[in-house]
Chain length 108, copies 2
């Protein structure tokens, strides 16, 4: 993924990129697990189309969410923390203001 976070130092961008990639891999891992569960019960046309609908939605959500260039990257980090896809510790090294925002937003 391309890195373009204006106003972020190089080390901060590297930390953010690593955290982001880790959360992405976890999200994909969770998606694969969910797909496997659905496929265990795949016996009807309806179930196949439900799997398709599920993948359509997940793809839309994940591709929209994991856009590293996003202006709202702190909000994205907060939502990932809230869902357990990212630990705040993985963002250590970002400046205090950014960390405080992430922590605060992750509580909503």
């Amino acid at each position: 993924m391309e890195m373009k976070l204006s106003g972020w130092s190089e080390p901060e961008q590297a930390i953010a990129k690593t955290a982001f990639d880790s959360a992405y891999q976890r999200a994909i891992g969770a998606l694969i697990a969910a797909v496997r569960t659905q496929v265990d019960d795949l016996t009807s046309a309806d179930a196949v189309w439900q799997l398709h609908d599920f993948l359509s939605i997940q793809r839309h959500v994940i591709e929209g969410r994991f856009d590293f260039r996003s202006d709202g990257i702190l909000f994205v980090f907060a939502s990932l923390v809230k869902e357990g896809l990212l630990q705040v510790d993985e963002l250590a090294g970002l400046d205090e203001e950014k960390l405080t925002k992430v922590k605060a937003m992750s509580r909503f």
Copy 2:
């Protein structure tokens, strides 16, 4: 599925409907088997999106093809025979003209 084949006798419609439903079940069975094979190797995001693309295409093809009201139902039967989703025997009871057309078209 709704039955509306103008110019077809009631017995012919019943035969066509049964053959059609059988072929549909076989198509779905083949699709489920293909999905299971893909899911066995599901380890990356790319593989998940490939599965999604595959389901999008298959859904479009199957929903378009298995429209029992289609004017081109004989052509659909011929294509199902050609692909091994239907045996000509399952259409026994249709008039000779229809059967001849299906057999002829299934050779292309």
